[in-house]
């Protein structure tokens, strides 16, 4: 994993999560974030984020974003 990804996919996921957190409760936020990522991210990006999470390299990832990406595994 190059450093490029940690500086792009993690903040991108967080940004999405931030929006959905503002829309409603936690469950809805996780669902909204997951749906959005599924709809707009190429699979390779999801795989990269999951790999970062698995590798413990996604420290900056928010809870909602983390739950969302794990749901997409």
């Amino acid at each position: 994993m190059s450093a490029v990804h940690a500086t792009s996919v993690v903040p991108m996921a967080n940004q999405i999560a931030t929006f959905f957190v503002s829309q409603g409760d936690h469950a809805a936020a996780v669902a909204g974030t997951a749906d959005h990522i599924k709809a707009f991210w190429a699979p390779v990006m999801r795989r990269e984020l999951l790999a970062l999470v698995d590798a413990g390299m996604a420290d900056g990832l928010s809870d909602v974003a983390r739950e969302a990406i794990l749901r997409l595994r």
């Binding site: 929006f19 503002s22 829309q23 599924k38 390779v44």
Partner: protein
């Protein structure tokens, strides 16, 4: 092809419910009440002599040639200023009138050169026509009297010449500048016999307030204002109607030709987007098509350090196909992708995305809308159900309150801006929400009621505060909301915006917008009648771009301003076919018509039609492609008509991405900046050379017609088709109309579109199908496309790009009138005379603090990079904000911009970059190096 003649009805058309019947020269005619006698006669085919009247401006009544006799009325009233009346009996030709007209013509010609044979307007001169029509045979006054025959020519404007000796002082130019363009750059100076057309204070056109839109040239009935090109080469002999390839307004032009030589582009009166008007770009800046730097032969090279080698088309295509197949074989199917061009036709764009999906076998296709209006697509689809603006341009004539957010129409969409200004002069109110004092805020005869000069990046806070005012002050159109919107979502939203933290008073510290001003603006929008919102990239190019679009949609729904003429939410699209490129399925997650690749039914439809299997998951977007390239997984790209190096943010990152690829294919007119990193260059064709359609910002599909053969041998769609065939995926379209037929077959919103219908109707606004066979000017009339309008909560989330001690100023970027985007075209025309280089607008306080004086070089630095350019001190920008354009590669403003982007669509945050400005003494090292590298990269190996 023949020469197309327009009919001049003399006075503008009148819309009226009531019809009036009158008799003209013994023939009855019925016309709308309020129509002039002159126009009524023309409807009958009767031409009344005229010089000062033309149907683009209001009747003036000065030339006195159009006088008629009306039974029961004294004297000889002017037919242009006399409205029809029921039962009126008009005579247009009587001995008395004949004598009178001859007398007037005799006066005109007594102060006019007799050089018809050598005059540039010979054969295209209304004065000449009228002298013939009235039978003038001699001028008994002689030519020794007072005259203006020795008046000097003004050739200061590169595109047209003002020959005062030929001026008949009809004021058509002055009136066109006022009524059509709204600039008021011309006047008549002096009075009586000494009355003269005067730009500015009797000065040259170039130093006056003239914006070179060409309206005066268009209006002039003589050779007084003539295109320099006509003076140089003479009159055209055939013409074709086509669509401008600059901004998203989509002006219709008549291209006037001599053989394959373009003589001039004349705005077409029946063009429904421009209604006969034009701007300095579309009207005049087409010389790039034949510019010496245009590349017309394919070229390849194995490494970007090598010079280019000219090759045959066969070799170039075969090489490209083999490279792509090699890369896919080595790095996987997803390792290549393509970028469609918003400059190309719908048909070409459709073909590129088809190439990617069907021949490349992935969804790695994106388009420049990624970096401009992708949030519009997302935001409007979420709230209304359609990824497009809701209105036609004509709608503005019914608007009572205009809200302009993050757009600068007078520079970026000048022809539509003129229509806005016309409506504003008629009394419509205006709210401008922009960090910068754009011209609309205050310019001749136009003044905004409210200018909310917000801090860059705080759109959402401002719009939510406006919603707060509308909800808490009881200004919501409750009936509308009840009938048209999702009530639960509305209630949720209303509760949200009503929270005290969203009040203007609470957000003032963040936005910098005085609460009282914001409240007043919100009240005006909610209660001032038909409210229409127009917005541009100042809305979308933010980390909260999509949220802002939805905040706008919320406001429109809450106030009932959707679904009829005069209202709506209207994105002003940047490029000629950015709407079309999006419509055609250029995004990695969508097929044409905005249908997600995961929708099985749609996907199966395409699989069946195209004979391939298609994936159900989205592909990579442009920034993701570049990230993947830097990471080593993305290796090849086919870029049609886009210069991502200059246009996309964080240039260094883009360069790194491109440099990491093994096969970069650029299809363009010129060796652009991106081509510095390319391995294959496929010469593209201009809009003058191809056949197809563009779709403008009002969803209007318009024909592009070939006026000359492609200099490079092929239209762009043909090149894509050849590449596809070489890749082993067969395409055999014989004509772009067949591509459109396929689009129509596969896209419900385009179901009724065909070239034949476009030719018959002139243009069509989608959706066009069985439900709307002639298209849809205004959307969401009875109900939203998605069913119920959806309110979305819009929490303000500050961008992570923050000012601090190192970067204390906020940079925002935009466009200027004379230049266009990365300048690839306009920089290769005389338009550069108006804007030779990008400059940095900086408030005098900020300048003084840094010891920077107007016109001096400054260094502009962000955490992404550094560049240098000249400073322009102005209070158009607030203290703390600096502004520049991105038209010139030497400046490379995008070296400065960051890779922050919209949360939903990755649209880059061009509009907010924390920067520092300091004194400079010329270009920085990077610029010098870049120039050298670019020069090196553009070397072409000498032919053997």
């Amino acid at each position: 092809m023949s020469f197309i003649q327009e009919t001049d009805y003399g006075t503008p058309a009148v819309l009226a419910d009531k019809t009036v019947t009158l008799t003209i020269d013994g023939v009855q005619v019925s016309v709308p009440e309020g129509t002039s006698v002159m126009r009524a006669a023309k409807e009958l085919g009767t031409t009344i002599p005229k010089l000062c009247a033309t149907d683009s401006v209001a009747a003036f009544g000065s030339c006195r040639l159009c006088l008629v006799e009306i039974e029961g009325r004294a004297g000889t009233p002017a037919s242009c200023t006399t409205p029809v009346a029921e039962g009126m009996v008009v005579a247009t030709q009587t001995p008395k009138l004949a004598k009178l007209r001859k007398g007037v013509m005799e006066l005109y010609i007594s102060d006019h050169p007799l050089d018809c044979l050598t005059c540039a307007a010979n054969g295209d001169c209304e004065l000449q026509d009228m002298a013939g029509a009235v039978g003038l045979r001699e001028v008994r006054y002689g030519y020794e009297g007072a005259n203006h025959l020795t008046a000097e020519k003004d050739a200061s404007n590169p595109y047209f010449t003002y020959d005062a000796s030929k001026c008949i002082v009809c004021s058509r130019c002055v009136r066109a500048c006022e009524e059509v363009q709204g600039t008021f750059a011309l006047t008549i100076s002096g009075r009586g016999f000494e009355s003269r057309v005067s730009p500015g204070q009797s000065e040259a056109f170039m130093t006056s307030e003239c914006v070179s839109c060409g309206a005066c040239v268009q209006a002039c009935p003589t050779a007084t204002l003539t295109e320099t090109r006509v003076i140089e080469i003479g009159q055209p002999e055939h013409s074709a109607i086509t669509t401008c390839a600059y901004c998203g307004v989509g002006c219709t032009f008549k291209a006037e030709m001599r053989g394959e030589e373009l003589v001039r582009m004349v705005p077409w009166k029946d063009g429904k987007a421009n209604r006969g008007h034009s701007c300095v770009k579309g009207r005049f800046a087409w010389g790039y098509a034949t510019h010496r730097e245009r590349v017309t032969e394919p070229m390849i090279r194995s490494s970007i350090d090598e010079p280019w080698k000219v090759v045959s088309w066969d070799e170039a295509i075969a090489h490209t196909a083999s490279e792509f197949r090699r890369i896919q074989a080595r790095y996987g199917r997803d390792s290549i992708g393509g970028i469609t061009s918003s400059r190309c036709t719908n048909e070409e764009t459709y073909l590129v995305q088809k190439l990617v999906r069907a021949a490349f076998g992935n969804h790695n296709v994106d388009t420049c809308a990624r970096v401009c209006h992708s949030p519009t697509g997302y935001g409007l689809k979420t709230t209304f159900g359609t990824s497009a603006g809701t209105q036609d341009f004509d709608s503005v004539a019914h608007t009572d309150v205009m809200v302009v957010i993050g757009a600068n129409p007078t520079d970026a969409h000048p022809v539509f801006a003129s229509r806005m200004k016309k409506r504003l002069r008629e009394g419509a109110r205006l709210i401008v929400i922009d960090p910068r004092r754009i011209d609309l805020v205050r310019s001749t005869h136009v003044e905004a009621d409210h200018h909310l000069a917000l801090r860059p990046g705080t759109n959402v806070a401002v719009l939510t505060a406006m919603a707060h005012v509308i909800v808490t002050e009881g200004l919501v159109d409750e009936t509308y909301v009840r009938e048209r919107c999702d009530l639960q979502a509305y209630a949720h939203w209303a509760e949200f915006v009503a929270l005290p933290q969203h009040s203007p008073e609470a957000t003032e510290a963040v936005t910098g917008v005085p609460a009282a001003e914001l409240r007043a603006a919100a009240r005006l929008y909610a209660t001032g009648g038909n409210g229409a919102i127009y917005y541009g990239l100042g809305v979308t190019e933010h980390s909260q771009g999509s949220t802002t679009v939805m905040a706008i949609a919320n406001l429109a729904m809450a106030t009932g301003n959707i679904g009829r003429p005069g209202v709506g939410v209207n994105p002003l699209r940047g490029q000629n076919n950015v709407q079309g490129a999006c419509d055609m399925g250029s995004f990695p997650h969508e097929f044409s018509g905005y249908r997600h690749v995961s929708e099985d039914e749609t996907r199966h439809l395409f699989e069946q039609a195209w004979g391939v299997a298609l994936g159900a998951e989205p592909g990579l977007r442009i920034p993701n492609m570049l990230d993947e390239a830097v990471a080593g997984a993305f290796k090849g790209i086919y870029i049609q008509g886009e210069d991502i190096l200059q246009s996309d943010p964080n240039t260094k990152h883009v360069a790194a991405g491109l440099a990491a690829m093994e096969c970069v294919v650029v299809q363009d007119l010129f060796l652009n900046e991106t081509a510095n990193y390319a391995h294959v260059f496929l010469p593209g064709s201009t809009f003058l050379e191809k056949v197809g359609t563009f779709t403008n910002a009002e969803r209007r599909i318009q024909r592009v017609r070939r006026v000359m053969r492609p200099r490079n041998g092929y239209a762009d769609w043909e090149i894509t088709q050849r590449l596809s065939n070489a890749l082993g995926y067969p395409m055999d379209y014989a004509h772009p109309s067949q591509i459109m037929d396929e689009i129509a077959r596969l896209t419900p919103t385009f179901a009724g579109v065909s070239f034949d219908k476009l030719d018959a109707l002139g243009s069509i606004q989608w959706p066009c199908n069985d439900a709307a066979p002639e298209g849809t000017p205004v959307m969401h009339i009875d109900h939203f496309v998605r069913g119920k309008g959806q309110f979305i909560l819009t929490e303000y989330v500050p961008t992570e790009e923050k000012v601090g001690p190192r970067y204390p100023l906020l940079l925002t970027t935009g466009r200027i009138l004379s230049q266009y985007n990365v300048g690839a075209q306009t920089r290769r025309t005389e338009n550069s005379r108006w804007h030779e280089e990008d400059v940095l607008e900086i408030h005098p306080h900020d300048a003084e603090e840094r010891g920077v004086r107007d016109g001096e070089w400054v260094r502009l630095k962000s955490r992404s990079g550094e560049t240098a350019l000249r400073a322009k001190t102005t209070d158009r920008v607030a203290p703390g904000v600096v502004y520049t354009t991105f038209h010139h590669p030497l400046t490379q403003a995008n070296v400065i911009t960051t890779d922050y982007s919209d949360w939903a669509t990755n649209c880059p945050e061009y509009k907010v970059t924390a920067v520092q400005v300091s004194r400079g003494n010329g270009p920085v090292e990077w610029q010098v190096e870049y120039s050298a590298q670019a020069r090196k990269s553009r070397r072409i190996e000498a032919a053997e």
